[in-house]
Symmetry: C2
Subunit: 652 residues, 2 copies
Amino acid sequence: MTGEIEGGARVVITNVRPRLECGRYRVKAIEGDLLDVTADIVRDGPDLLQASLRYGSPSGEWADAPMSHLGNDGWMGRFRPETPGIWHYTVQAWTDHFATWRRDLGKRVDAGQTVDLELQEGALLLEKRLVLVPKEERRVIQAAIEVLRAPGKSDGWDAPRVTAAVDESVAAIMAGHPDRTEAATFEPVLGLNVERVRARFGAWYEFFPRSTGTSTEHGTFATAAEHLTAIAGMGFDVVYLPPIHPIGRTHRKGKNNALEAGPDDVGSPWAIGSEEGGHTDVDPKLGTIEDFDLFVERAGQEGLEVALDFAIQCSPDHPWATEHPEWFHHRPDGTIKYAENTPKKYQDIYPINFSTEDADGLWNELKRVLEFWISHGVEIFRVDNPHTKSFAFWEWVIDEIRAEHPNVIFLAEAFTRPKVMGMLAKLGFSQSYTYFTWRNTKYELVEYLNELVHTDMALYFRPNFFTNTQDILHEYLQHGGAPAFKIRLVLAALLSPSYGIYSGFELFERVPLHEGSEEYLHSEKYELRPRDLGGPDTLIPYIKLVNEVRRQLAAAARLTNLRWHDVDNEAVVAWSKTAPEEQSLLVVLNLNPFGREEATLHLDLDALGADVEQPFEVYDVVKDTTYTWSGHSQYVALDSPDEPAHIFLVKV
Amino acid sequence: MTGEIEGGARVVITNVRPRLECGRYRVKAIEGDLLDVTADIVRDGPDLLQASLRYGSPSGEWADAPMSHLGNDGWMGRFRPETPGIWHYTVQAWTDHFATWRRDLGKRVDAGQTVDLELQEGALLLEKRLVLVPKEERRVIQAAIEVLRAPGKSDGWDAPRVTAAVDESVAAIMAGHPDRTEAATFEPVLGLNVERVRARFGAWYEFFPRSTGTSTEHGTFATAAEHLTAIAGMGFDVVYLPPIHPIGRTHRKGKNNALEAGPDDVGSPWAIGSEEGGHTDVDPKLGTIEDFDLFVERAGQEGLEVALDFAIQCSPDHPWATEHPEWFHHRPDGTIKYAENTPKKYQDIYPINFSTEDADGLWNELKRVLEFWISHGVEIFRVDNPHTKSFAFWEWVIDEIRAEHPNVIFLAEAFTRPKVMGMLAKLGFSQSYTYFTWRNTKYELVEYLNELVHTDMALYFRPNFFTNTQDILHEYLQHGGAPAFKIRLVLAALLSPSYGIYSGFELFERVPLHEGSEEYLHSEKYELRPRDLGGPDTLIPYIKLVNEVRRQLAAAARLTNLRWHDVDNEAVVAWSKTAPEEQSLLVVLNLNPFGREEATLHLDLDALGADVEQPFEVYDVVKDTTYTWSGHSQYVALDSPDEPAHIFLVKV
């Protein structure tokens, strides 16, 4: 800490925000968004400062944005990262000798002092700066120097020498061409992961391609492609496919997770690898890689992106088990260790040993897997259980991939402790599964969303709220009937910019393996589950409506604009989201799926931009009805079996 | 950020606290205090961790303290820095393979599995660690290995092989001799400025030695020494002397800051330097350096430390002005620039140019000045206006001095913007003047103290509450009469561990230069102000009482133990301070100096360690009266002209 004697640097920059773990990890942003950067900047003594936000694009070009003083030694500047990739930023500040001199000169003139020597000092300051001033402006400065040095009256605002000294055009040129030789620069330079909009905003639909045949006939990429129109018609943006690779035979699980599979059992797609190939192969039952390419193409035509599962684990039949036994854990008898969640054993799965001596070979092979699928048009990966793989690997591979392919998005499927989930997000995952499924009461929802939205988590952790997954059928859905499905859909889709459903949700599928279980009976993980989306009694029109609202309102695409509104009933929750120059979204939702709830809503009119004196219209997109409201308090009544939600567009 | 592929490190340590500006500045501590260090530690996967707090003494010896898991991936450890100086600390964590194996073995045995292979694995783990185990314990491990490898039953808790595997003494040896080869260590290593107790706790008394003569006869170190017994008798710990150096003649200020001094005017001690010498000389009117040494010795005999003023500025007559003109600012006409607070001019003062080309010469000379006074027994410096000198200089000189003289204390006299005052504290000042003088209402006091006590400021900013200074006579004192002096004394002395008064306070001196001014009439800065401390109507007995309470209670020596108690009257404030195993301090204070206030006090009984069901005694040291209280609510009435404060010792 004891440094060199230099005497120069007098300016200290601290508390640069946003910043994550002292700059060890990068903050996240979305292309095109303005990033506000603040800092505390102090200097000893009374001299004035100038400060600049310096930012560098992924290609390494640096630019400056001026910072302004907010008061109390806080400064702010902003820039707009226009392209995905790794950006950088820092803050630079320096003593503004000319502005200081100009300020003090004014005080002296006000006090009636003669300022001859001060004018000489000013001329010196201007002269010293000349070299930094472009030719076309230099003439202005040179003229000022001459006047400052001319003999004559040197007190009072009417003295031409004083007038020249405080000339605005001179001040502007000096401010525009500062001398930064003594500038302080904040260290470390901070990184910013800029991603495309889909990293924050998207509606996901998960389905198993193999279930698009019949209960006995295995679906294919071709039959799956036939579902894409219906999925797109519901308003989804992303279709997420569980692993599409060859499935192992050894210790294959049967229906309902039976230890022994029957000869026709299809096995879990997460038991990856067989003699037919591994992570860069497709299950022949689904088709060929060319069929997959066609599927991706067809999805693109429907406006859908394909997200693949990236599950780093192998069935005992995976080619790696014989080609690279060193990538696995071994037991004292020389056998490869299967997966366990002690004392549970998963003999159909070999976990990977990230601490292998051949980390170099392993890590690069995994990177090659991602590159393979990227070359087949996949730019979104849903990563299975990333928290059981090496943190260092994720930081490395995500950076490596995004350096070449900045549009690639990684979703972390980690249901584990909060700080572990946070760490994965800090390491680079674009978005994350959450505890949303287990947050059902108003208290739970408000507390959890406030953590996601109004703490530093908003800098790095982007939620993706799934209503259900192939592993999670919450008892709220099991018992709440169709209204529960509506409620959870409205919550997921209108609280979080990214959300998803797992197929069957739209058909109200809700039979658990057994009472108290969150697993589905006849789980699609172990058998084919063909579905008819064309029936009469589905959630499809409602899903379509909600997704239309999401696409219509820029406010729905953002997280940190969430504001709660008071409701005097614990079963009713209300929130709004706003964006500049458009109608606000206001949702009032009955969380009780079984009946009617009445409540008085106490609106935060400021959050809505409404005036307490001025009536305003709210249009309920569900009921297609417009109400005129005025003031803070509104009576609401929602009967869930009829309709649990008001989804209002607020016109102010 | 994209690193090497190593595959090893799986553990990530973040959020190590306490920490200041990411470790750029050192946190402060007092010798002998326990320092609690917390961190978030995560690892991918389910393996168990072990963590250690590593700490290094000023002499560079490192030691370990175990950390324990607090839950939610938070860990805590503590160490006690026993000596002043720069300490360091960091956190280390690693995967505890043996504990993980032992935990999983237990689960398997519980599940009724045979664990033969697991026992083999355990034997391997023990064997690998043998080299780290000291000889005397190695036998225990070797015996365990033999049993683990012996043939025989390998399921059930009754199997001898299982019993040996989970043996507590084996577990303890393994935990005590961990394998840290794959340990993660938090970076950067954090610094800790450990200081002696006086850096936090002390009662200061400021006086001008030259005023200890008569109104015409200049006081000396000898006459000043005669006051030390009285000062010590009031219970003070530190006597702070304004500059004692030769005073300049050029542009000397007269009485009441008159621009022209008369021939007998003594001048401001802050106009340092004359033909009689500079910063390492004493004003001959005060005596010789030997007289000063005697004064310091005499103070020590009275239990008082001497604090000197360190004011880096010169009168035009200072030897440096001729010997080192390059250390000053120059005007275009070649003259040295005098001090200004534009448009005010201070022609009797030359400020130093810290950006001089000869920074090396200047900085080392200033360091030599400090070393000179240290060699004359001074270990406390009250630094005048440090915010107008270079930040980099302070960081350098404080570190340089404290490296050799870890007992030296620096008090920053900076009354400026909050972040500038904070920066000086971060740079190394042991303690700081504050806004206390201008915080007089309950709202102001509570808000300000909460900032000092309950924010990160407590990590680096130690307040020294002065009731008044030679520059600051607040209107509260000017108008509030004797009760105002009592009130401000109680606030300063019992809110802040360090506090001070400037002489005259004990005599209720309160005549301002003019109405609306905070300057004293006949300011001692410009003339002799002899005082008679022996009169009847003084605050001396009250000061003595308050200082006795401070010395009696360890709680008064700490800042962060401050707790407010609710009072239903804005004119009455109540707070407590507690320390382990002693009576608590509870103060109830009427802030209205003019009359009687009644209020109901709502005690925070938990803060006092009292039981709502149990009566407890409070002894008022002012009234020498004991009351028995029970419950939260107490009626209090305080008539300031009689006595504004209850100062209670609480026996629970």
